[in-house]
Symmetry: C2
Subunit: 424 residues, 2 copies
Amino acid sequence: MIGEILCVGTELLLGDIVNTNAAFLSRQLAQLGIGVYHQTVVGDNPARLKQAVEEALDCSDLVIMTGGLGPTYDDITKEVTAAALGLPLVWNETAYERMQSYFARTGRVLTENNKKQAMAPEGSVVFQNDNGTAPGFAVERDGKTAILLPGPPSEMEPMFLRQVRPFLEGKTGLTFQSRTVHLFGIGESAAESILRDVMEAAQNPTVAPYAKTGEVQIRVTAAAENAEEAQKLLAPTVEKVCAMMDGYVYGVDVDSLQKAAISALKQAGLTAATAESLTGGGVSRRLTEVPGASAVFLGGVCSYTDEVKRRLLGVKEETLKAFGAVSAETALEMARGIRERTGADIGVSTTGVAGPDPSEGKPVGTVFVAVSCGWFEQVLPLQLARGTGNERERVRILSENHAIHSILQAVWKKEEGEKHAKDI
Amino acid sequence: MIGEILCVGTELLLGDIVNTNAAFLSRQLAQLGIGVYHQTVVGDNPARLKQAVEEALDCSDLVIMTGGLGPTYDDITKEVTAAALGLPLVWNETAYERMQSYFARTGRVLTENNKKQAMAPEGSVVFQNDNGTAPGFAVERDGKTAILLPGPPSEMEPMFLRQVRPFLEGKTGLTFQSRTVHLFGIGESAAESILRDVMEAAQNPTVAPYAKTGEVQIRVTAAAENAEEAQKLLAPTVEKVCAMMDGYVYGVDVDSLQKAAISALKQAGLTAATAESLTGGGVSRRLTEVPGASAVFLGGVCSYTDEVKRRLLGVKEETLKAFGAVSAETALEMARGIRERTGADIGVSTTGVAGPDPSEGKPVGTVFVAVSCGWFEQVLPLQLARGTGNERERVRILSENHAIHSILQAVWKKEEGEKHAKDI
């Protein structure tokens, strides 16, 4: 099946917003085994929209549109699509009832304008909008399917995941399930070269890598008649990937380093605290992104000067004098200091040179990440710059990653020790 | 002039990366007075790319392409564009020399493969790539202009700003200059309703609003024969917008709240420190984004528990008991505490309920932001939730904004006081 993504909105053509919908939908369709050859963006202009819809329906079996379902006169996606399919636009009672319940729930008043949003091409399937007013629709004719979704990602994404995806699975007769193996400490190309044979041989499930700053994820996707069968297909490949990437895997389906760290702390009944220099609070910012982090994350200090390192973390003046603020010795005293001062089980610290200029004679990218707990201490000396200009943000994010990963390592060490003690 | 943006890359169609290039280029073209009716994404498939290039050249005066200029066999943008324009692909010595100097500068070796990157459609203008290997090109035929740029934003964006933009200004005979008025504390629609008449009447310069989470920017853009004339045209409108938005303006061309705050601190010779609860280090993370922040930002404490609020910030147990951690009283003691403990001139604090669940019987979105200095103290009681589901991230970002804005307010108060003293 060939799909096309058509996003409608003048704000996209003006560059006021970035088109995350196209990326989200493309990725979803790829997971469903639906090939995407084109993504197109057009404005609210009826003639150009009509041409784009007709061309898309001409080239593809499935056209997914976002935007232009609002209540105002320049929201014309439904009108144009109905015309292109040769279908009348009719009142859709299901859509209207669902809109009414949304308005009732959020305590708002449904206006005459909103009634336009309950009109749909004849024969449409309605997708309920849990996060906004405009319902989505799917309509089929002559083997072509058009799916119309609201523009705001906060409305479109949950609607797709909960309703459109099962609808598409129903059409293909297949259910797709994915599991993601999360790696840390290895680059995308190195991971690919280890997994190349597996990736090339894989048919069902498929194996594909995704990279983001300092992290690589391996996604394993299986298609089967039902979820249970798909999960059965997934298990051996996920196990194989984990075994091949041993030493780099920090979790399966864990979402992010910070989520994995908070979960690991909760499961182990441990608490953590942070002492940050070059990351400036980024580590604690990310840990507290996770709802419920307060159960295991106590807090931290951002020490951006030597004096704050001394006053709030107890780093010794001699240490700063002898080794500098950017040193393994200072990193370790910071990690120990925050642990003592907060009473946390695990203290983690970062110090380094984010740039743009060198500091203490140390080049940009020189970073030390330390972790301290009763059962484990470690300082990582790192060089995180690539030498390609302004890397401040990249060096900071990579340092955050290493600090959060160090928390995971500390929890694992504790668990290893306990397992070892039990074995004896 | 009508422009079209055509991005080439299978990684876009798979949704592996978000198409920020289309948004960047659209915004740039809008500023240059060039209308964009279509953005299109196609993969590395020769037949579909050929069709897309031909259609784009057919509909538009100017086609800007990104991606597919690399050294490998599946990089075919130049080949396809040359064919569509009926031009041969020829060796471009200028491009080759510039590539050689880039390789020499970065200490890398130019391979046989890379020579492909020095081929260009006959008659092309070359754009040097300061951040990668692939040069960009512009080629004109029969009143149509095709511009080919590398795909990575880190290469494309500087190339566009430094070379392509002047090239396009040369074609239109006009230079465009913009100034941006930064607002805080007012929503986009409220700002628009104040400025509607000005926006509608404005021809040259034009006046347009841009919104991001909790901030609004008003961009004023003028076209003239040269930069000096354009700046002359801009000045009275910028002044008028500032006067009309009095009380909300925190700067002109200041980039971001955090950059404005760091600049203001530097100029006033003042230092700041942070005490953060619900923002979890986000305020310090943003302040330290700004290179050179260490001159005026000393550090901070992230106090995610009552105990850390007491131990590291000196918040009184009675205060926490009587009013709770989410209260004006606690916020003020946090701001005072961090100021005393770091010796900073200005202490700023955040405490509140980010969600997803209420806390201390206070609803999600209840936030207090305090600032404390020798000449000024203030606590802002805020309600930042909209009641539309998971707002944790939004509530945190808005709280960060208020905290950073409070630093600016503290600096302004000091300056007002000094001006007042001088006047007496």
